[in-house]
């Protein structure tokens, strides 16, 4: 498990603390900290690496990670470059440790003797895809793409032994010293050829498969065969005679090893490569636009002498490329991804033995005194060394604190003496801007690397080759990040409408709201102040003991004079941070109108058949005038100057056009005035019509 784990702000020390945390956090941390992470986002946190997945996510150099969740010193590998070889595909070894290496894409065979590497032979084919050695020292090389097999003397003289009919690829060679025959597994017609020393080749077994990808010769002379594109393992009993050992899942038996009747079988399920079907010209050649690779799935099986087949390891994210049965019954496994070599026990437990720079391990020989591993992408041979490690390094993956962080204690759990180092930087990939590795410490203590966003932890096993690392934890405090108010808005609430369909009356409560960018998700407290636009001094809206954490507020303005106002909102992350680290920010609203008072109609009268009135609003302008007669609906009215554009407007209308159709007598005229905020007033006057003296 590798995850930031929040802890209580109080510092914690000591192994017991770590142990309790390990136990507790494994069960509770996810749920527990999901709850608390928002409230205490910038409190002390830690990286905890305590299982196989998290411990093996980094790099190994002379260290091994085990499936049960610990790290020890392991094998060390020394890289030897194969000049001009894109891929080191296969090997054959002599008893004295001499290693022949088949390579592509120039079809060369290299010889590694001691530390002396030389080009041993050139086939001028694309790839030396298989090698085998006869007891007399003759090296046989199978090649692609013309299905040729070469014989090379110990002195390096090469000659073509045979070109196998119908074969393009020679994937596997096995020399049977009992019969003095060389067996060749080929494709794409799935044939096994037997070839004698004179180069006479004949079909030994003609399978239905496309390819014979792997051959393994047991000490009793049984020849085991792995096929593609089905995934069968066959046992050949003689020319043309075969029995199926097992029909494995997947589509390739990429590698087989056999030791005294026990088989280790690599069965892969490889996807069909994605090819963009773009036909070029009239050639009917269809190309992928770019090389596209999809991950295969790998399985490792053990088949015992009685035929019992058991899958002991599986990886959905990688296929396997090479296999070797060790004397102790464990299986060494080359992985086609991330350049790893695993050791898998029959009970399914495993250890990562090697973690190489190349993508693929293509062949391995880890038994004997001089273990070697070959890689593709690019071609290299690694000499593998056991014993007390010279480097013995386990390095975590790059751990991301999300923000610039100050690092505290590094604790670990295990046995023996480890040296622990750290380094930090602000790029996702370590580069020369990162700090140097810190001075190693041998007991838990403070990290001496500078504050940064990213950190790596390294454990060195050189002082105590028997040391064991079981868990590593690094505490850190992310640097507090300032939250920012990006906008402030104010809007007037409306009261409940008493009349259906009518506009609700304006309220004196204003909705204040604001948007916040809060990068570290601290809990935020907001304070608000206001001022009239023309004033400079802000006045608090909230008391200091009123803690507002919501990003909105309903502001009562009834007691305020009408006018234009500005709101200032301040935030602080003091709820999540120590007072010294707390950060604040503020922002203002645009000026907005507070208008809680309706206009007044100080003058209203009728003179000489004309209604006159004066309407006054404190903020202005008067936004609407209406007149209702005898309780009928209000109808719009224009002021005397025809424009509603001032805080004071005068009304002057002749009544005759409005009243002449009405019955003679008293009539009630109601004048309504409304301001821009929707506040309104109504004043009435009783008018006798026709005026006295004009009545009929």
């Amino acid at each position: 498990m590798t995850q930031p784990v929040n802890s209580n702000p109080a510092p914690r020390h000591g192994q017991s603390r770590l142990l309790s945390l390990v136990l507790a956090s494994a069960l509770l941390s996810v749920a527990f900290w999901l709850v608390l992470s928002r409230a205490q986002a910038t409190s002390t946190q830690s990286f905890l690496l305590d299982d196989a997945a998290s411990l093996s996510a980094g790099e190994l150099d002379g260290a091994a990670v085990y499936s049960t969740g610990y790290v020890t010193a392991g094998l060390e590998a020394r890289r030897i470059e194969l000049p001009d070889a894109a891929v080191a595909f296969c090997m054959a070894r002599l008893a004295d440790g001499t290693t022949y290496i088949g390579t592509g894409d120039e079809g060369r065979i290299y010889r590694l003797r001691g530390d002396e590497l030389s080009v041993f032979a050139e086939t001028h084919q694309l790839l030396v895809s298989s090698l085998a050695v006869a007891p007399n020292g003759t090296l046989y090389a199978g090649t692609i793409p013309e299905g040729r097999v070469y014989a090379i003397t110990p002195g390096g003289d090469i000659h073509e032994l045979a070109q196998l009919e119908g074969a393009q690829h020679v994937w596997a060679l096995a020399y049977d010293a009992r019969r003095n025959l060389l067996f060749a597994g080929t494709g794409p017609e799935g044939r096994i050829f037997s070839i004698d020393a004179a180069g006479h080749a004949q079909t030994y077994y003609d399978s239905r498969a496309g390819h014979i990808l792997s051959l393994a010769l047991d000490t009793d002379g049984a020849l085991y065969v792995g096929t593609s594109d089905d995934a069968l393992v066959l046992r050949l009993r003689g020319p043309g005679r075969a029995e199926v050992v097992h029909d494995f899942p997947g589509n390739e038996i990429t590698a087989i090893d056999v030791r005294a009747g026990q088989l280790a079988v690599v069965a892969n399920d490889m996807p069909t490569p994605v090819v963009a079907l773009t036909t070029t010209s009239s050639s009917s050649t269809t190309h992928a636009t770019t090389p596209t690779r999809r991950t295969g799935k790998g399985s490792l099986f053990l088949v015992d002498a009685q035929g019992r087949t058991e899958r002991i390891y599986h990886d959905d994210g990688a296929h396997f490329t090479a296999v070797e049965l060790a004397e102790d019954g464990s299986v060494r496994l080359g992985v086609g991804k991330d350049g790893r070599v695993l050791s898998v026990n029959s009970d399914g437990s495993w250890a990562t033995l090697l973690d190489l720079d190349e993508r693929q391990v293509l062949a391995l020989s880890l038994g004997g005194d001089d273990p070697v591993v070959l890689t593709g992408d690019s071609g290299a041979v690694y000499r593998v060394r056991r014993g007390a490690p010279e480097r013995g390094l386990w390095t975590s993956k790059v751990l991301d604190a999300q923000f610039q962080a100050r690092f505290g204690q590094v604790h670990w759990r295990g046995e023996g003496t480890l040296e622990v180092l750290t380094r930090t930087g602000n790029t996702e990939e370590p580069d020369d801007t990162w700090s140097d590795w810190s001075t190693p410490v041998t007991s838990p203590g403070p990290v001496h690397s500078p504050a940064a966003r990213f950190v790596q932890i390294r454990a060195r096993f050189t002082r105590d080759p028997n040391a064991v690392l079981r868990a590593m934890e690094l505490f850190y405090l992310p640097r507090n990040q300032r939250a920012v108010i990006t906008s402030v808005a104010a809007g007037r609430q409306h009261g409940p409408s008493k009349v259906a369909q009518a506009d609700p009356p304006p309220s004196s409560r204003y909705d204040l709201s604001w948007n916040v960018r809060n990068p570290d998700e601290d809990s935020l407290r907001y304070r608000m102040r206001f001022r009239q636009e023309s004033q400079t001094r802000f006045r608090d809206i909230l008391r200091e003991d009123e803690v507002l954490t919501a990003d909105h507020y309903a502001w009562e303005t009834e007691s305020l004079p009408d006018g234009w106002y500005v709101i200032q909102v301040s935030l602080s992350d003091e709820l999540s941070n120590d007072a010294d680290d707390a950060l604040s920010a503020q922002a203002q609203s645009e000026p907005f109108r507070v208008d809680n008072h309706a206009p007044t109609i100080p003058e209203l009268g009728v003179r000489a058949g004309t209604l006159t009135a004066r309407v006054v609003d404190s903020l202005g302008p008067v936004a609407g005038l209406e007149l209702a007669i005898d309780g009928q609906a209000f109808r719009p009215l224009l002021p005397a100057d025809g424009l509603l554009d001032q805080a004071e407007e005068r009304v002057s209308i002749e009544l005759a056009p409005r009243l002449r159709e009405l019955p003679a007598g008293d009539h009630i005229l109601a004048l309504k005035a409304r301001d821009a905020a929707g506040n309104s007033v109504v004043r009435e006057i009783v008018v006798t019509w026709p005026p006295r003296g004009q009545q009929p």
Partner: protein, 598 residues
């Protein structure tokens, strides 16, 4: 006139109203004077180059306005050489000409050539300058031997170099006075083809003479100021010579044209003295009718302000012999030409020569089958011999059929490959004609059952049709690979020349030539089974039917190289003896396991 700098006049000394004269050949070989009057100097006409505007009041030029072939005519002011007659305005109605200042031309004239540019005095490398070559390679795939149409290749190259068709020229722009390309010994069809292909370069074809044997020169050939000069793109039984005028002879070198011919930089095109027969005045275009005289020198620089000729070098040319068989009643069945060696020009000129030879020998508008045997001899490497066949439904004017003859691929490879300079000594093409509809159409194909056994041999009935004959059926046996068990396969039947074998990425010119040689005959029927497996191309190798894990390994290991997975086919070529057309496709369902037969 001596070639000293004091005999030239600078642009800053030239003013409106100055009078002077020009020199050009109006007829024969001797230059004549014509009057000129300076209008003004157009400053900054081109980068680092002004343009002197002059009038050419002359009875002929008043009518002809701008005369193609006069480009390069020296213009003298104040008794000193001012520059070269070079530019005109399309649709101009007065004889106003742009003169390229002599200083710009002399700068080009003294420009050195690279040491490796002209190996020996007889064979010239056609290699472009190193920098240009790199640039070229980054913009266009160096030819690797795949199928090409030489005309398409030529047009793409012309377009990439920024040449524009004449119709796209703007009337308000000064343009180089067209360089007439005198064609001799060409049929109308071939002349039209050359006109279409070369006019974007500013070469206006004009029917003239000049092919075949010429009367011996009466005096030793030499170039003179104001004399006619030709650039020979082809000579022999066919002649294509671009005509211009020598501006100034500088010892062994001379400058001419006053503008580029193709702006090709350092080149090695053969040049010749020339004789002017007439100045043809035309409302469309006026030009000198001329013919090549004595081969002399090599065009070594084709630059913006001039072409530069070294009269001491003999350019490399490609001797091409074309023999037409099967038209025995034709008056001429063998054609011998020398073609200029130049990366762009040579293949398209060779195609023009073949088109011309065929249209002159067998101009019939009828169905015509051909078998073409190509032989190309190189210096220092084995000869290449190839055989192609095809059908022309409308006689030799159907250039697309001829373009598939692999002679042109070999020439493209020799002149434009990524590996080495190849010296082509000679090329020979024997074309065997058969009159009549020699094509067999693939009409249909069928199998008894679409379900087939892996490993079985499936008889495919192919229905064929020949003109004027009843449909026939031929049975082709197709072996179903055992590895196709459980798959559905697409089986296609196509003429051999429509199918390209999977080819390796070439590592050498030998590989390129090998790729060209490695082709299915047009007279074969290629049966292709589209397989579920994938293959990869490498330098020198092509790998098919790879297991998936190996494909994964090899694809990635060559990720920076050319390898890309491709769909693989099992192909079988069945000889048919006649050229084929059409195609047929079937889908076959392959059983997972063969049926058990009692």
């Amino acid at each position: 006139m001596a070639g000293g700098q004091s005999d030239t006049i600078g642009v800053d000394e030239i003013h409106p109203g100055m009078r002077g004269y020009g020199l050009s050949v109006f007829r024969g070989e001797v230059p004549e004077r014509f009057d000129v009057e300076v209008i003004d100097v157009l400053h900054g006409f081109q980068p680092n180059q002004d343009l002197i505007l002059i009038r050419t009041p002359h009875p002929v030029l008043n009518q002809a306005i701008t005369v193609g072939g006069m480009s390069g005519s020296p213009i003298y002011l104040d008794g000193r050489l001012a520059g070269a007659y070079a530019y005109g305005w399309p649709f101009g109605i007065e004889p106003v000409i742009g003169v390229t200042p002599i200083a710009n031309m002399l700068t080009e004239g003294s420009r050195p050539t690279r040491d490796d540019a002209f190996p020996g005095a007889t064979l010239l490398s056609t290699r472009a300058p190193t920098e240009a070559r790199l640039h070229h390679a980054s913009n266009r795939a160096i030819y690797d031997g795949g199928p090409i149409d030489p005309l398409a290749l030529w047009r793409a190259e012309v377009e990439s170099l920024g040449f524009r068709a004449p119709g796209s020229r703007e009337s308000g722009r000064a343009v180089p006075a067209a360089t007439p390309l005198m064609l001799g010994g060409f049929t109308d069809e071939a002349a039209r083809m050359l006109d279409a292909e070369l006019s974007p370069l500013g070469l206006d074809t004009a029917q003239a003479g000049g092919s075949g044997a010429r009367p011996a020169a009466q005096r030793p050939a030499r170039f003179v100021d104001g004399g006619a000069i030709g650039v020979s793109l082809m000579r022999g039984d066919m002649d294509a010579t671009a005509i211009g005028t020598v501006t100034h002879v500088l010892g062994r070198r001379l400058v001419a044209f006053g503008h580029p011919m193709m702006n090709a930089g350092q080149v090695g095109l053969p040049t010749t003295t020339a004789r002017v027969l007439h100045i043809l005045r035309s409302q469309n275009r006026s030009f000198k009718i001329a013919e090549a005289q004595v081969p002399l020198g090599t065009l070594v620089h084709d630059r913006p302000s001039a072409i530069v000729v070294d009269s001491g070098l003999v350019a490399a040319t490609l001797p091409l012999r074309i023999r037409i068989h099967g038209a025995d009643d034709a008056p001429k069945t063998e054609w011998n030409v020398e073609i200029a060696s130049q990366r762009m020009l040579t293949p398209v000129l060779a195609l023009a020569a073949l088109t011309n030879a065929l249209s002159a020998t067998a101009s019939d508008r009828t169905d015509l089958s051909y078998r073409a045997v190509t032989r190309v001899d190189f210096s220092g490497r084995p000869s290449v011999q190839l055989e192609d066949s095809g059908v022309m439904h409308n006689g030799p004017v159907e250039g697309s059929a001829l373009a598939s003859i692999r002679l042109f691929r070999v020439l493209a490879a020799a002149y434009d490959n990524a590996f080495e300079d190849a010296q082509v000594q000679r090329a020979q093409l024997d074309v065997y004609l058969t009159y009549g509809h020699g094509l067999t159409d693939i009409v249909d194909a069928s199998v008894a059952s679409e379900e087939v056994d892996p490993g079985s041999v499936v008889p495919v009935r192919v229905t064929l049709r020949r003109y004027g004959e009843a449909d026939t059926t031929r049975v082709v046996s197709v072996t179903i690979p055992r590895r196709a068990a459980g798959e559905t396969l697409e089986l296609s039947l196509r003429p051999g020349d429509e199918v390209t074998p999977d080819r390796a990425v070439p590592r050498s010119l030998d590989d390129v030539l090998g790729n060209i040689s490695d082709a299915y005959p047009a007279t074969s029927l290629v049966v292709s089974l589209k397989m579920p497996s994938r293959g990869l191309r490498f330098r020198g190798h092509v790998v098919t039917a790879l297991p998936r894990s190996v494909l994964d390994t090899l694809t990635t290991s060559t990720n920076t190289g050319p390898s890309r997975p491709f769909v693989t086919y099992d192909r079988t070529a069945v000889p048919f003896g006649t050229a084929l057309s059409g195609s047929a496709t079937l889908r076959l369902s392959v059983r997972a396991t063969p049926r058990q037969h009692p």
